[in-house]
């Protein structure tokens, strides 16, 4: 059973390699670092077989017909022209049936994966997922670890091989949390909490971003995900608890104002002051900073600035 699966995976990775070579670089979605992104990559590759087949069939028929039935082709036969042909129920039934079958073949794994993605990843089921509140504000990300009582801004530490349960919310505009190498995105909204399960199996630094347009600072609303081993993660937690300052409400309100901020770490969370995913706190930020959108950041791309850069 396992070797069969391995064989299947090898074939899959063969296709992935092909696609990667085609474009001449590593493609994030095809280079997953965790089980969620991997399951989505596999579904995409599965669909690519059908897509490839459809394109092949349509292109072949198209090419042959366009060449063969040109009016000015030499050697045209009288039998090559049937202007009265108006339809054929059997043939038409076939090309209704084939797309129906393709849609069924695509629907089954899609629906299964849709349901699967709403649950913690199967591979780490023995362990409770790590809960992280991810809050988007114009134009930055706050990550609160309620159990560890830690808050980070624009960067994130996670242990590998453990499910991460993101509780998504936004302080104002609808944003979307997307870490392509760990898995697909979900919206973060004010007044509604969404849950997104992701997991990293490989240690490394991954790029995350807000993928849904939220205004002027949108392009700069990126963050780094540091996936580290369990030990290293615990060390980091201890280190932060001892050495980093607490996040006061005053400081939090200040950071919430529209603008860009650097990466930061605090030894307490903002969840005591505001839970933007709850109905009571949906206007927390707008009440405080709603009058600041008249002024623009005047955000230019200074040469050398790279919003996607991952520090080594």
């Amino acid at each position: 059973m396992k070797s069969q699966k391995g064989h299947y995976m090898m074939r899959l990775s063969g296709v992935v390699m092909m696609v990667a070579l085609l474009s001449g670089c590593n493609i994030d979605v095809f280079d997953p670092a965790g089980p969620v992104a991997e399951s989505q990559r596999n579904l995409i590759v599965y669909s690519l077989f059908f897509v490839g087949a459809i394109i092949l069939v349509v292109y072949s028929i198209f090419t042959v017909f366009v060449i063969k039935y040109r009016a000015n082709r030499k050697n045209r036969k009288e039998s090559d022209y049937k202007p009265e042909m108006h339809g054929n129920y059997i043939i038409e039934a076939i090309w209704v049936a084939v797309p129906v079958l393709i849609v069924i073949a695509l629907s089954i794994p899609t629906v299964r994966l849709i349901f699967q993605l709403e649950e913690p990843p199967v591979s780490s089921q023995g362990e409770e997922p790590l809960v992280v509140y991810a809050t988007s504000a114009d134009w930055k990300w706050f990550f609160s670890y309620p159990e560890e009582d830690i808050e980070t801004v624009n960067h994130l530490y996670i242990p590998t091989d453990r499910g991460i349960e993101f509780r998504l919310a936004s302080a104002e505009s609808m944003s979307s949390l997307w870490i392509p190498q760990l898995g697909g995105q979900k919206y973060a909204m004010a007044g509604m909490e969404n849950t997104l399960f992701l997991q990293a199996d490989e240690e490394g630094t991954y790029l995350g971003r807000n993928a849904n347009f939220t205004g002027e600072g949108f392009a700069a609303q990126t963050f780094h995900v540091n996936a580290v081993s369990d030990d290293e993660y615990n060390q980091w937690v201890d280190n932060v608890s001892e050495n980093e300052p607490e996040l006061t409400q005053e400081r939090y309100d200040e950071l919430l104002a529209p603008g860009l901020v650097d990466q930061m770490t605090f030894s307490s969370t903002h969840l005591d002051y505001a839970d933007h995913g709850s109905n009571e706190d949906r206007d927390y930020s707008v009440e405080r900073h709603g009058d600041k959108y008249d002024e623009q950041l005047d955000l230019y791309n200074t040469p050398g600035w790279n919003p996607n850069e991952i520090p080594e």
Binding site: S23, C25, D28, V29, F30, Q40, I44, S47, F50, V51, I54, V58, F62, F65, Y69, A71, K82, E84, M85, G87, E92, W95, V96, P99, I102, V103, L106, S107, T110, V111, I114, F115, Q116, L117, E118, E172, S173, S176, P180, G184, K186, Y187, T195, L207, G215, E216, F218, D283, V286, E287, G290, Y293, D294, Q296, D298, L299, Y300, N301, P303, N308
Partner: protein, 648 residues
Amino acid sequence: MQLDEFFVTGEPLIYIGMAAIVLVSGTILFVLTYFKKWKWLWAEWLTTVDHKKIGVMYILLSLAMMFRAGVDAMMMRLQLAFPDMNFLNSQHYSEVFTTHGTIMILFVAMPFLIGLMNYVVPLQIGARDFAFPFVNALSFWSTFFGAMLFNISFVIGGAPDAGWTNYAPLAGSELSPGPGINYYLLGLQLSGIGTLATGINLMVTILRMRAPGMSLFKMPIFTWSTLITSFIIIFAFPILTVALALMTIDRIFGSHIFTLTGEGLPMMWANLFWMWGHPEVYIVILPAFGIFSEIISAFAQKQLFGYKTMVWAIILIAGLSFVVWVHHFFTMGAGAFVNSIFSITTMAIAIPTGVKIFNWLATIYKSKIIFGTPMMWSLAFIPSFTIGGVTGVMLGMAAADYQFHNSYFLVSHFHYVLIPGTIFACFAGLIYWFPKMFGFQLNRKLNIWAFWLFLIGFHVTFFPQYFLGLDGMARRLFTIGPEWFTLNFISTAGAFVMGAGFAVFVYCIVYSYFKSTRDLPGDVWGVGRTLEWATPTPVPKYNFATLPDVKSHDALIDMKEDGETTFDEDKLESIHMPNYTGQPFIMTAIMFFASFFLVFEWITLASIGLIGIIVMMYVRSFDYDGGYHIGVDEISKIENSLRGHDNE
């Protein structure tokens, strides 16, 4: 309000825009005055109710808007190819992609197709005009003024900057203060009136004014697609109207329908927007399918394969278009069950669409393909659109969509359906029916240049974007990191080739105006199958002197066999025509000013405008103009002189 708050200041590019506007308007005013054309403009165009002239004006509007939104596209591509050059800053980039998207959908795709429908549909069904010529003029002018209102935003007050989807709460008055979003809301509202009225007008025209013998299943396929489209318009546009009105009330009068404060429902905007927005996509694609069907069957010199299946496919697509809107926000967290249902309905659209693709292929099987320029665009559509279609199915798979959503994969997909689908159809249709409209053909050589430049440029622009999306490049980013430089540069190069293709196309129209031969026969291409080619070229203002009995959906083929024409001297009767009127123009001009005042929230002035509109409605309600008749002798004279060369 200070003058420097009224006009947008401080951006060199916008100063260039202002200079261009002044220069172009100045030139137009000068030319009109110098050649004493003001009276001609008013009497022949601004007051016309003739569906043919209105159709031409729609297409002119669309081409102008295509230029504007195309320049927007070029600016975006330049910025992404050379982010270090700082051609656009973030704010300016947001404005540019917002206007690009909104204009391309609402002021390019729709007016172009509605223009072609305006011109062609009455001719295809043997009608004298639309059912409501006055309303038709009103529709055009409201679209025109809606477009103008939307377009002046970038010099007066500031352009909208929340994306063409204008999502709440971003587009609310707190997060997007200023007149920009008001321009979006009122510009679309004003033009939406026209679109809805056109939908009703087309539906009544097609259902009530067909030639004798033309039952529904004997209508040409373009007319069928127009009929279905008009149904979609009538069901979908009221949703937009309501959504726009609600947000306008939010922004201008401080209600809390889509706001974060006061328990508003921002997510409701996304639902309402896409309940209109998805059918809207089919409003711009179904007529395109109709155009391709007409052209492919004509230039393949063969009946359309599976005519009835094609019609049912259109009807099915139209029905499904209303039950897939959630796929625009699978990532909103509606739950696994909802996402599964909408995944399946979305993928189901591929079935009738696939059937149509195979029916087109079957149409060219055992045919005699003539490579007229309209046919080249139509043939190029099939392979290009197929890529857009299959990636659409991939996007429909919700679990995979979480990775595609909001990325350049999506951007590439919808350009791959809208450009080969809608834009190719617009070009193909315009070239195909151009001689009917203007009495001369477009130069073939230049057309072929435009075609290849545009086609190759299109693929070079958008194919790399699939890979950018898979590599994590989100849409609407004003700057990018070095890992995406190469593909973005290729994409930009392609965009400029496309731009060159458009330029050649416009040049081709000008060139052909001066160089092409006039005196064309009614069936200009020699391959016409439907009634519009039975009329003489150019079409007389009353369209048909007499009507034949229609026996099949290829009416002209039967007429040729029976030796019939649309000029049967024995059956001639005088024809009742509507009079031209300036009321639609004046009424919508007042609407324009009222909306403009509302954009700046100058309520008193806007109220005066509202009173003006009501006065105009009153005037119209008591207008007893009964039109006039064209006598038999005159028809006889016109037909004989126009048909002289047909009988040679």
